[in-house]
Amino acid sequence: MKISAYNCLTSSFAPGKHLAFNALTGAFLSLDAERLDDYEALLASIETTGSPPEPVRPFQKTLIENGFVIPDECDEQTEISNRYHGGKAASRGLGLTIAPTITCNFGCGYCFQSHSNTRMDDARIDDLLAFVDARLEAGTSLNVTWFGGEPLGAFDVIEKLAPRLHALAMERDCTFGHSIITNGYLLTEARAAFLASIPGFGDAQVTLDGARRHHDIRRPTLAGNGTFDRILDNLVAAARHIPILVRVNVDHRNVDGLEELLDALTERGLRHVGVYLGHVWHYTDEVGATDILTKEEFAAIETQFKFLKFRKGFASGAMLPQPKRGALCSADSNNSFVLGPGGGIFNCWNEAHQDARQALGRYSPATEPQPNEVKQQWAGYEPSAKPACRSCHVAPLCMTGCPWEAAKVTDTGDCISARFNLADQLRLYDLEQSVALADKTRQQSAGAAGIA
């Protein structure tokens, strides 16, 4: 036998407790001192003799069953590749990112788009519905992300499309889901109520770039006015109808305002919303930001922010990292498409703002090459081909990360935070699970005492 290349062993926040994680199987185990001895004895035995110690202790058997130690013939690199290609081939549902318009009412310095006044007209709406009608397989799923520009700048398009897309999904016995990415400035309560009225609404992702003093400089209207207060007012009203997810785009300039944002959300009764950090990055030539955090710096901030959220009574957002399977995103998925307002089909969100003439295909029936041709751009993508990724301990979790970024360099991928902060992610996950378990135990004890 041999040792898996994807083991992580680390300490918990709780003294005397240790955590073991395998990135290929997703197994997560907590260890006391005795189990830690078992763990180390097993790996030492494998390293020196190629076999487990005799007799194999029960916890060592658990470790073997969970992939911390694997048979010699097991090729973990091949498994990663098989998961990627097998998952892609098995995927059936249709994923659409729809930009009703590319217009935006904000002038953010770090935006990765250039904005035109293009908006979807009725003819393109009909074309889009025909495209879905031709491609949605019965008994699968239809998932829509409303994107832009600012999608609420063409809310009438959403009002026309959303009910018809939902109806089409129902006719085909498909599940339907939709969500929206918006700057929040036009997210009135009535619009939130409409979105909630179409079944399957997930959440509205709204960006607040930290404290008001930072946000109003970073995300002003085109006229240069601040937007923080109006967005916060809108969130209070919208949260009565729909789940809200606040995204905070960070670079060196606004890190020191993150705690103020949490305090502002708490003051407005919004501690229940999800809040997460986005990494301002040079995705396209349009990005004008200069104080960009490195991947490692961002990972450090992300970890500290999750701890800060926990301390402030928010959900920390700590999730157990999950091994990937199948396509990485819309770009390399066989059946996900980015549909621009002018009839263009794109693969990546970073291309949504481009003119339809730059598109790889069109959803207008009169002019389209077949959408499958669009997908040839990423058909040969091989996540296990990057040399640095082949030796990375979190490769099963990211498979190179964003293919758009990974394609810019030859030897490495677009590294995810887990490459740098996996141990902290495990600690934070264990922390929330442990507190929840303690609470459950207390409630059971209180219940038992009440019965007695």
């Binding site: 062993l9 407790k17 992939g67 999730m319 399977r325 141990a423 378990l437």
Partner: protein, 147 residues
């Protein structure tokens, strides 16, 4: 945090002073998190995702290879007395589904969160603001064992 052996990852971006503050607050409310929180026995047989399925312990209702017609459980361990939206899982597919436990936390009822966490938040908030570190992009402590 004590280093045990090669491969034991000690690096962290969280200030040890903040961890000590949190543990002190836990002590004040009688909270012990040293008990193993993960029932690993429940994961055996599921973690390998042999057929592309999800962990049935966490995603009950999801069938391997097909998520059609799935709805979330109407209640969550995070808020056992209140219902979650049944829409929460509506846009999941087996390719994208996260097998994390269905939770109301990000949706409706975080304010009515578990009493223990509420007490802990309260205990931590009583510490002076200056006793907590500020967010920083400082390098992680400890060696970089990433690759």
């Amino acid at each position: 945090m004590t280093e045990r052996s090669a491969g034991y990852d000690i690096k962290s971006a969280i200030d040890p002073r903040d961890v000590a503050n949190m543990l002190e607050a836990m002590k004040q409310i009688g909270l012990d998190i040293s008990v193993p929180a993960v029932n690993e026995e429940a994961r055996i047989g599921n973690v390998l995702y042999a057929s592309g399925g999800c962990d049935p312990h966490d995603c009950s209702g999801f069938k391997p290879g097909s998520c059609s017609g799935v709805t979330c459980p109407t209640k969550s361990s995070a808020c056992p007395t209140e219902a979650c939206s049944t829409k929460v899982c509506a846009n999941h597919t087996c390719q994208s589904v996260s097998c994390g436990k269905v939770s109301c936390n990000n949706y409706h009822h975080w304010e009515s969160r578990a009493s223990t966490l509420g007490a802990l938040t309260e205990a931590m908030s009583r510490l002076p603001a200056g006793s907590w570190s500020q967010l920083s992009s400082r390098p992680l402590s400890g060696p970089d064992l990433a690759t």
